[in-house]
Symmetry: C2
């Protein structure tokens, strides 16, 4: 198989032409990837407010104005309608379709939101020799719906979703330090050690992603998760909502390092 | 004269009852103060986008939903219509009135924005024994309209406004370190040393505030300024816009220290 290019612009062009449709984890290493949420204009203000009030689960990287489809900061020249390899279309809160581009359903009423993704801080942890079990086992990170309410905004309200990574006690301080440096990518953990306090009774019973074992000497560490804004938005059953498909992120032109300081 | 209380809630109550109408600089020391912008709902999305795209001049602390007037995070129990001692009302971009409360002109269409203010990092500088000339001379900080465009958002576009403080070369590193810790209060400087590069020909010719001298051994240090969002919004001539009057800020319940980390 040919080597996959590492330039985000080249990768997005390949995705646009349908030449690359695998999940984006591990692609364009060193460049940040982003979650996508597209909503009609009439609920865009409330959604932006939700993100402003809940910056840990919903770190807003860029908002693309109604009808526009080119990011100005995170991917100049990109087309948000075609440059992700797999999209999900929801109607009235129900999954309606999974498609390779959304040009056919595009409307001038759509506002696009790019939201930070934890790939960035995971790369930083790996670089610091802090192992991540779901990477080692080639699984999806474990995710759980908690008993904590997000700060509501307009019509949007719901529960916080968290991701969990088992971290060895010896790596705990360093893990907090490293992830704290990426406030736009979910930042520092929101809880350490006690799943039950967040209403999670059994770590094996994930709501999204795959379960992984927490070994002797490790503690479960929880981060606010980018699934939160999607889950909250869906529960309000918007007439139309488009997201990336899980794992098929938007590859940005912004290097992880440049996001280290605000 | 009676001692002025230091509890933000008590101070806001006094302001609400018309018993305190002086500028708020030096009041409730240790608690953050905020700029206020109120705009009709139809331009609120664009204004919020302006803030999201320009976080250094427009650090958004809290957005209060259409028609509501109680901050949930920065001043539970406060009334944004009455708890500032002096408001400015602009119609079509022109100053129309300066009043002690805005209850009479309030509309359910109004969205209120609380925006970070540099008082917080100034207190931190003073505590670190870094003198501020405008404090020593009891003046307003020097402010200038630059030649730099803000990142536009919808109908909003215009020039960045900066504040300038002369800092001794020996204090420069510490000044950058300290102010960097307050990203929600304009954060690190955006330029050091050369006014002309930002289109400022004469430091004595301020656009807002008072000029101060830059002495031997000092360099002019420039921060993005909270006047920017007001100036940019006004230049688009919204039908209605309400702000605090200069120096008459909203006193929040949030301690400066809690804003030190994101």
């Amino acid at each position: 198989m040919d080597k996959i290019p590492e330039d985000p612009k080249v990768l997005r062009q390949m995705i646009r032409e349908g030449k690359l449709d695998r999940p984006t984890s591990g692609l364009a290493l060193g460049f940040s990837q982003a979650n996508l949420v597209i909503l009609p204009k009439d609920v865009a203000f409330d959604f932006m407010l939700l993100c402003q009030r809940n910056p840990k689960p919903c770190p807003l990287l860029e908002v693309i104005e109604p009808g526009n489809f080119e990011p100005q900061k995170y991917g100049k020249g990109a087309d948000i309608r075609t440059d992700i390899s797999k999209y999900r279309i929801y109607k009235g809160g129900e999954l309606s379709d999974e498609v390779g581009n959304v040009t056919g359903v595009w409307s001038n009423e759509f506002v696009s939101f790019l939201i930070g993704c934890s790939f960035t801080f995971e790369s930083a942890l790996i670089k610091a020799d802090i192992p991540l079990r779901h990477w080692d086992q080639n699984k999806n990170v474990s995710m759980y719906i908690t008993n904590r309410e997000v700060v509501p905004a307009g019509k949007f309200h719901g529960k916080l979703v968290v991701s969990m990574r088992p971290i060895h006690k010896d790596h705990l301080v360093k893990t907090i330090q490293i992830t704290s440096r990426f406030p736009d990518m979910h930042g520092a953990p929101i809880h350490i050690g006690s799943p039950i306090e967040m209403g999670i009774e059994d770590l094996n019973d994930t709501d999204y992603g795959d379960p992984v074992e927490v070994l002797e000497g490790e503690v479960p560490v929880f981060w606010a998760c980018g699934v939160t804004p999607q889950a909250v938005a869906l529960s309000s059953k918007p007439s139309m909502m488009i997201t990336h498909s899980p794992g098929h992120m938007f590859i940005t032109d912004i290097k992880d390092e440049t996001l280290e300081v605000k």
